[in-house]
């Protein structure tokens, strides 16, 4: 029997910042959440989970508790990858979270992980997420900063995911940074036989710069990876986002979907599927809308090296179609309502295999942006 998780007692956050966290799916009252990790700057405020068989620990505690964890450290992401990984690897006092779902465990309500940056500093985290054989693990990660972080700050985040045989991880990340924050996630996952890895990313709010290229290596047979990204870039935001799937196991398949809107900012939308084995499939799709002059630069790459891998991509960048707007106007919606309705539809990506609660959370954070007039 699982007990109810406790609400976060003293988050020391202003009402406004609590609202910012709510927008990224962080529920401080812990309704519909089975566990929580909250890190403010470099301080761990909360790490707990009420679901049997699933542990949420701070990085430090996890390393003390499990010797074997060192085997996972820097296994999916190389510490020598770039200056970000080197910076995090060099930390004497690493922080972040470790989530371990034991064999056969399953969480109906997601675990929330929240990384909050409220000071002028570099926040660094190293996260390790493991779903053991047959486990099903759902995580929502809300990353946010205070509305005004003085001269700005940065977030360096290493996340290593391990999806064991017959296991499944869904990781839904919603960002709500501000104009002077730079964000550099470095994520990779290793998926074993019949494993499923779902990664969803939503960023509807301004950020100075974000640069990430999470990679899923589908090692096992019949493995699945699905990446979805829904982003809006406002003036002054520079978003270089991508996702990559390496298809190694026979029967591995990947789907990478992006919806990008620029209102004046820059979006580089990268994608790469590498089919290395026969019997693998992959599809990459990027659709972009330019609402105000800005940049959407889609770079879809598909790479196949054996007979029997099937890969495809489609990319399109355009504007709102006048005939679609007028069609809705002829049904009584004014131009702004018609435009918002079409954009909302454009951003509506349904992710197969995602629990309803998480899909609702994604929908809610897009709805929030719609209310503000996109």
């Amino acid at each position: 029997m699982s007990r109810m998780p406790s609400p976060v007692k003293n988050p020391e956050l202003s009402r406004a910042d609590q609202d910012r966290l709510a927008q990224v799916g962080i529920d401080l009252a812990m309704k519909n959440r089975c566990g929580s990790y909250l890190q403010m700057n470099q301080d761990v405020v909360q790490a707990e989970c009420s679901e049997q068989g699933i542990e949420v620990l701070s990085f430090t505690k996890a390393m003390e508790k499990y010797d074997g964890l060192r085997e996972y450290l820097w296994k999916a992401v190389s510490p020598e990858k770039d200056e970000i990984t080197r910076y995090v690897a060099a930390q004497k006092d690493p922080q972040g979270y470790v989530i371990i779902a034991q064999k056969g465990s399953n969480n109906i309500f997601p675990i929330q992980t929240c990384l909050y940056l409220g000071r002028e500093q570099i926040q660094h985290v190293h996260n390790i997420i493991i779903a053991e054989e047959g486990a099903e693990l759902h995580i929502i990660s809300g990353c946010a900063s205070g509305a005004h972080v003085g001269k700005g700050g940065a977030h360096y985040g290493i996340s290593e995911f391990f999806v064991k045989k017959d296991a499944k991880i869904s990781f839904t990340m919603i960002h709500n940074w501000s104009e002077n924050i730079e964000v550099y996630p470095r994520s990779a996952s290793i998926v074993e036989d019949n494993g499923v890895f779902l990664s969803n990313y939503v960023c509807m709010q301004p950020v100075k710069k974000i640069q990430m290229y999470p990679t899923a290596t589908l090692k096992g047979v019949n493995t699945v990876a699905r990446f979805s990204s829904v982003v809006i870039s406002t003036p002054g935001s520079y978003m270089d986002i991508g996702s990559r799937a390496i298809l190694e196991g026979k029967g591995a398949s990947a789907e990478l979907i992006t919806r990008a809107i620029t209102k004046g900012g820059t979006i580089i939308s990268r994608g790469h599927i590498n089919g290395k084995t026969a019997g693998t499939r992959g599809h990459l799709e990027c659709k972009g809308l330019i609402l105000n002059d800005g940049i959407i630069y889609a770079i879809p790459e598909i790479e196949g090296s054996v007979v029997g891998t099937e890969l495809s991509h489609e990319a399109a960048v355009g504007k709102l179609a006048k005939d679609e707007i007028e069609y809705l106007m002829s049904r009584g919606l004014d131009e702004d309502e018609a435009t918002a309705t079409i954009i909302r539809g454009f951003l509506d990506v349904k992710i197969a295999g995602l629990p309803e609660a998480l899909q609702k959370q994604i929908d809610a954070s897009i709805d929030e942006a719609e209310k503000a007039g996109f």
Partner: protein
Amino acid sequence: MLHIEDLHVKVGDKEVLHDINLHIEEGETHVLLGPNGSGKTTLLMTIMGFTSYSITDGKIIFRGEDVTTLKSHERAQRGIGMLFQRPPTISGLKLGKMLTAISRNKDKDISELAKSVHMDKFLERDINKGFSGGEIKRSEVLQLMIQNPDFVMLDEPESGVDLENISLIGNAIGSLLEKEKHLINRKKSGLVITHTGFILDYIDADKGHVMCDGEIKCHGNPREILKEIKQRGYKECLECRHQ
């Protein structure tokens, strides 16, 4: 209800409708006939207020109000509605979401209405994406059922519809036009483009007009005009008028 006076319409630089006059009273349904490319759809799109169709002269009066310069949504809000022959596909926008948006939270049971035109399984589909001809028409009729306009324009409601669906769509359109009500109590009016005339079995059409080269050239009993056209073709039909 709708009065069109001396209407001239340009698309791009070219005048495509010349001096159109049309008067449709409350409770009346008129039929617009004419060869392909004669300007029938253009007239409907102009009445609906689509911006590619610019009115260079003349007026459109709806219920005593000059709506010539009103935007499309303002005309819709005043009670003008249209069934499109080839509506656009809107990627990502679900039919159900669109219906909710156009219902404006009025107390309408969208799923019940959808069931009545066999569209309940399409509410989670992108609007018009991969819809067959009949499905497009059923979706259009469903949207109009929710919009509930007083003046209904129908652009070839039977085109692309199989025989099985024609009565479903015909009856639904009939009820949009209050055909079940006695003539005296009928408040809804309509303007219908048809080539086949199948739809006339489901609506009481009061008058027919034949359009050619952007002009209305002939008026009369819709069934008689249609019979004439079927027997002799448009060419002879129009020649008859010019004699």
